[in-house]
């Protein structure tokens, strides 16, 4: 981690803000820098993508982010692992709600295929250049994206509506 600077100036790595979250290193690239940063991490021994997920910050907009990073509705979180150095690093990239697209990491980490499908399925974030962007956990014709904060929870209509005979009242014999 050669170019991470001292504590006076804001820390950066590959020219991208680097923060510390409970002792874990987090990079905050913009959408334009996202692929470039991940590519650099891949060539810097971070050869495994252990996790890719997203958060919908619709109802919690005021979170702390480093200077120069504007909060957006979605945040895609990528956890990379360097087996060689036994290190983890996290990449958090802001994705606006009205244009929820992000380049796919499939070419660098084929293992993100299912994870990106899951994020698409649950949040509706479209990963461009993904080979097979379909719903993975929900049925193909499902309406809406369940893990979005504006997706209602609660009762769903029951599909079995046969008329069952009413139970006799207690003590009615």
């Amino acid at each position: 981690m050669s170019d991470s600077t001292s504590t006076d100036a804001p820390a950066t790595l590959y020219g991208v803000p680097l923060t510390d979250s409970r002792g874990q290193r987090v990079l905050h690239p913009t959408r334009a820098e996202y692929l470039k940063v991940v590519k650099q991490l891949l060539s810097d021994t971070f050869t495994m993508c252990s996790d890719l997920t997203a958060v919908d910050f619709l109802t919690h907009a005021g979170r702390t982010l480093p200077d120069g990073i504007a909060p957006e509705r979605f945040e895609v979180v990528v956890n990379l692992l360097s087996i060689e150095r036994r290190e983890r690093i996290r990449v958090r990239v802001q994705v606006p709600g009205d244009d929820a697209t992000l380049p796919s990491l499939f070419d660098m980490f084929p293992g993100t295929e299912a994870m990106e499908r899951e994020v698409y399925d649950m949040f509706g974030i479209v990963f461009t250049d993904h080979p097979d962007l379909t719903r993975i956990l929900m049925p193909e014709d499902w309406d809406g994206f369940p893990l979005r904060k504006d997706y209602e929870t609660g009762r769903i209509p029951v599909q079995f509506t046969a008329d069952f005979p009413a139970r006799p009242e207690a003590g009615a014999q």
Binding site: M48, V55, E118, V126, T134, M138, E140, P146
Partner: protein, 444 residues
């Protein structure tokens, strides 16, 4: 392409495996060559394997979701030419119950009941990773009482043993060694009996909680553990006689479902799959949590990356777990099992009668839950199936703003198309079994 287009134009691509003629080179790349980081042209050439069949020579069939050897409700779409598997696509989601959405409405103390049901064969590991993540957010990860830490390790290792014993049982059953099924379940039941004594339940314990564990070990626990440690090793030797050395068993598994280290890393596979390719990666040793850095144990690795290696690794990991449990028994400290922090740990029942403050804390914790400072954290541990990770984003309220589980089975299942390619349909069963997916965790 905006989201709206994808949903509304009705051209949303199907989840299933498409006929060969409708496949683009890029999709083929996903199924065959991407793990080698090939170009599309190279992948298209690979697509001709084994003998470039025209479409009417192949057949797409479904295996599952109710096939007994798919370990639950995994559905595989296989393209077959004769008995050879040309392509394979796992289709999941049949057990999806929105557990990550549910987690957003449960307090941090209730969350354990939710996560424990994900990987139902190693529930204690799920609870452990969730608790570690919550504790890290609270900043109390260094204040957990010693006894609770060692109890967590004890339970986690015993759970690894019970999970691997079940793998041996189902692996034997899938491959045709049906008596192994009975033996594996029998030994696992003994471990579960111990869990029942400690936690009250055989599965879905909700025993490891943020701040410690739910209760102290019951009287006589040491004898029960020693009974297990004496009983299981000779049984493992029996399995060696029954399976490991058997020519039929070896022929059935060796060279089946091969994956290389490079492919496993690219696909994000962890646990016994990654170790079977010769990569000595075990989070217990390489990124230690709890007190694993003080433990003496070996990381079992294979060399061929085939189904036999994965079987042998799990069998020997039980032996390593036994070694660890012996060391835990020698060093189990006394003391509290829950952190003495009124904001996190509910007061004992007796205190409620005598202290107004205890009553208030009790009421607050059980109605509202405890508040967790704003922030986000990712914690990963080694479950029997690989790296299980918990990502929690907190907004400072008593429920997680977002809780995500990095399920090892969900990622490992992506290896299936690669392992099956060019193999026989009969070996497909051996391959699924050797990946050991738990569908509760895949679909969450």
């Amino acid at each position: 392409m905006s989201i709206v287009d994808v949903i509304r134009d009705g051209n949303e691509p199907a989840q299933g495996l498409k006929p060969r003629g409708e496949q683009t080179a890029r999709e083929l790349l996903r199924e065959v060559g991407a793990v080698l980081r090939m170009s599309e042209a190279e992948a298209a050439r690979l697509g001709d394997l084994p003998v470039d069949p025209s479409e009417d020579q192949t057949m797409i069939i479904n295996m599952g979701p109710q096939h007994p050897s798919t370990h639950g409700v995994l559905r595989l779409m296989l393209e077959l030419q004769g008995e050879t598997v040309l392509r394979c696509k796992p289709i999941i989601g049949y057990l999806h119950t929105g557990m990550e959405k549910t987690a957003e409405s449960l307090t941090y103390m209730q969350g354990g009941t939710n996560v424990t049901r994900m990987d139902y064969l190693s529930p204690l590991n799920n609870e452990l990773v969730f608790s570690l993540a919550v504790e890290k957010l609270l900043g109390i990860e260094d204040d957990i009482p010693e006894r609770a830490v060692w109890m967590r390790m004890l339970l986690s290792e015993l759970n690894r043993m019970s999970s691997h014993l079940l793998f041996l049982a189902t692996n034997g059953m899938d491959i045709g060694a049906v008596s192994m099924m009975i033996y594996g379940w029998r030994e696992r039941e003994e471990v579960l009996r111990f869990f029942q004594k400690v936690t009250g339940l055989r599965m879905n314990h909700n025993f490891i909680r943020p701040g410690g564990v739910a209760a102290d070990l019951p009287a006589g626990w040491r004898d029960d553990v020693l009974f297990l440690l004496d009983m299981i090793p000779p049984r493992l030797d029996e399995y060696d006689v029954l399976m490991t050395g058997q020519p039929i068993w070896r022929d059935r598994l060796q060279g089946v479902g091969v994956i290389t280290a490079e492919e496993a890393l690219a696909l994000g596979a962890t646990g016994p799959i990654l170790r079977s390719t010769g990569v000595p990666w075990d989070l217990r040793r390489d990124m230690p949590y709890l007190r694993y850095e003080e433990m003496e144990f070996d990381v079992v690795v294979g060399g061929y990356g085939d189904a036999y290696d994965r079987y042998a690794i799990r069998l020997n990991e039980i032996r390593e777990s036994i070694r660890i449990v012996h060391q835990i028994l020698d060093r189990m400290p006394g003391g509290d099992v829950r952190i003495q922090n009124k904001k996190v740990t509910p007061p004992p029942r007796a205190r409620i009668d005598e202290s107004m403050e205890a009553l208030i804390h009790h009421f607050k914790i059980f109605t509202e839950g405890f508040k967790v400072p704003e922030g986000e954290v990712y914690v990963a541990i080694e479950s029997p199936r690989g790296e299980i990770g918990c990502y929690i984003a907190s907004d400072g309220s008593p429920t997680p703003y977002r809780m995500h589980m990095r399920a090892p089975s969900f990622v490992n299942i992506q290896c299936l198309p690669h392992m099956m390619r060019g193999g026989l349909v009969a070996d497909a069963v051996a391959v699924i079994s050797s990946v050991d997916p738990v569908l509760g965790e895949v679909d969450r």
